[in-house]
Amino acid sequence: MPQLMTRNVFTTIALTYALYSVLLFAYPVSADEPWLGTKTLNCSALEGQSPTNAQQWLSMSLWASHCYSYQARAVTIDESEISTLALSHRIQDGIRQQVVQYLDGPSMSIERHVRVGHWGWMSAPEADVSIPTQWAEHLGDIYAISLEGDKRVAGRDAVQITFDPHDTDRYPRQWWLDAATGLVLKHVLRNTDDDILETFQVTQLQDPERFSGNVDIGYPESAPSTDWQVNWLPRGFQLQSGVSRELSDGRVQQLYSDGLATVSVFVEPVSASSFLPGVHRLGVSAVAVERYQDSNAVHQVVAIGEVPPEVLRRVVRSVERVDNVSE
């Protein structure tokens, strides 16, 4: 009996907390956000931050992902495999260097280099709201976001943020953020039936060290114009101009994101090695392929992303050629 009572009390507390955070979330972002409207960020602004709602946590986590050098051990778990990883994130000369080393099987590493302060995310450019804040606000339109405190991941205090989409065009997911730094410690992606598709979890975070310099914030310019237009996307997906580009071989990549989920659409002339139209699944990613004939040639449209396959199929079928886009 006492046990039962304890559980009830706990549930009540959790519910209250969840409600509370939803309520808080409804308010506009507080004006005392230290990075509001700045073109550079001094990472020391992160010091002593104590976010009180989910949106502030999210905003802080995006900054934190550009402000800390650290090493970590982590695991990823997908439907078929568990991998242990060593991670390194360093900030040097304005460049974020990320290294993933695979600790299982033959040695393999991935490096990623990207300028600090450049986010793919961009909705409506507003001078007086920082990109992380815009991003966090946008997420609030697409997902029901709830915050729970007093979690623990990899021996560190954490908060848990749950993203529950308002529709079935994208997957629900959860993040656990390190309470001290705002770094993402754990990420769980679920399908629309709530089965876990993919888990990323830090098992040991070592020496997160805040970058002492200023971070210049980059703003994306407009995307390269293309002859192709995607006419349907799930609600809230926006073209990420900073990561859309023309590749070689006439391949054009346009990346769309709702802030969490991403979809890339590639258009290119059909070649001998092109895919047959259809929908393929690759782990959590899905790939949908269609072909379009115009007066000159046959083109292949490939959409790839971590969204339900039928959504991708609809995206890829909505692509059509437009003339004179930029004139």
Binding site: L62, S65, Q71, R73, E81, A86, L87, S88, Q92, I95, Q98, Q101, P106, M108, S109, I110, E111, R112, H113, V114, R115, H118, W121, W135, W175, G182, L183, E198, Q204, D216, I217, G218, P220, E221, A223, P224, S241, G242, V243, S244, R245, E246, S248, D249, Q253, L255, S257, G259, T262, F266, A272, S273, L276, H280, R281, L282, V284, S285, I304, E306
Partner: protein, 259 residues
């Protein structure tokens, strides 16, 4: 794969193996599903430690390169650069193609994010965010430039990155277990084609794509699929606070596609 083969591969890389030994190992490779993989990874390890600039490959080329090796034996430089041409990177030199480079390229993906942003961003003041004239900002030529600007950084931060240093500076990382040696002049790949890699077993992932619907994907298609996945993953890593998960997905596309 036996310890014996592993040692032979290692000796091969270091240029210490006799020709007879070389042929024996190469002949045994087709029966050795993971030996080819190991071969590539050994080269990767060496390339990383020697800071070879040529290995900044954003696309996994193994399937395509190997498929071509299957068909043609020598002029590797031509073959390789043909494969590489489309991948928006500078054409490799002959020694790069003939030597370890092509093999090494397979396992290391250096993702120079700058290639997106050199063109796409300014710093909000109307100035280019990069210290390079904007006039070069036409996309196809970018990656080579970006690669020069943002050089692949090996696991150690010091100039001479040796395994011991890597181990010391990066406690979370395993010290790379491979022996170090000077650049080998072995053109191992030429011999490999003679040994006859079977495409059905070569990209280890090709066999495992069976759960991809419409599973009649040939090697070329697997390669293509990987390139899409990687390009997508690189872009996806920008969007939010978690760039690790997309990154690991791009590796999945290289190591266990379709699983």
């Amino acid at each position: 794969m036996s310890q014996n083969t592993r040692e032979s591969l290692s000796a091969l890389m270091d240029g210490e193996s006799e020709e007879f030994e070389l042929r024996r190992v190469l002949k045994s490779l087709p029966d050795n599903a993971d030996a080819a993989d190991t071969w590539r990874r050994y080269h990767l390890a060496r390339s990383v430690m020697q800071r070879e600039l040529g290995v900044d490959v954003t696309v996994d080329l193994s399937a395509g390169v190997m498929a071509r090796l299957q068909e043609e034996s020598v002029p590797l430089a031509d073959t390789a650069s043909e494969v590489l041409k489309g991948k928006s990177r500078k054409a490799p030199t002959v020694s790069f193609a003939r030597g370890a480079g092509v093999a090494a390229a397979v396992s290391l993906m250096v993702i120079t994010g700058a290639q997106y942003f050199n063109t796409g961003f300014d710093n909000g003041n109307g100035n280019p965010a990069v210290d390079r004239p904007n006039s070069v900002a036409n996309a196809p030529s970018m990656p080579a430039n970006a690669a020069q600007q943002v050089q692949p950084v090996s696991l150690a931060s010091s100039e001479s990155s040796r395994a011991s240093v890597a181990g010391r500076n990066m406690p979370m990382f395993e010290p790379t277990p491979f022996r170090l040696n000077g650049q080998s002049t072995n053109s191992g790949l030429m011999n490999v084609s003679e040994g006859g890699f079977s495409t059905s077993q070569l990209p280890p992932s090709a066999a495992s794509t069976s759960n991809v619907q419409h599973s009649a994907l040939d090697v070329e298609q697997v390669r293509l699929l990987r390139s899409y996945l990687e390009q997508h993953a690189h872009g996806a890593a920008y969007g939010n606070s978690d760039s690790w998960l997309p990154l690991t997905r791009s590796a999945m596309s290289a190591s266990s596609l379709g699983q």
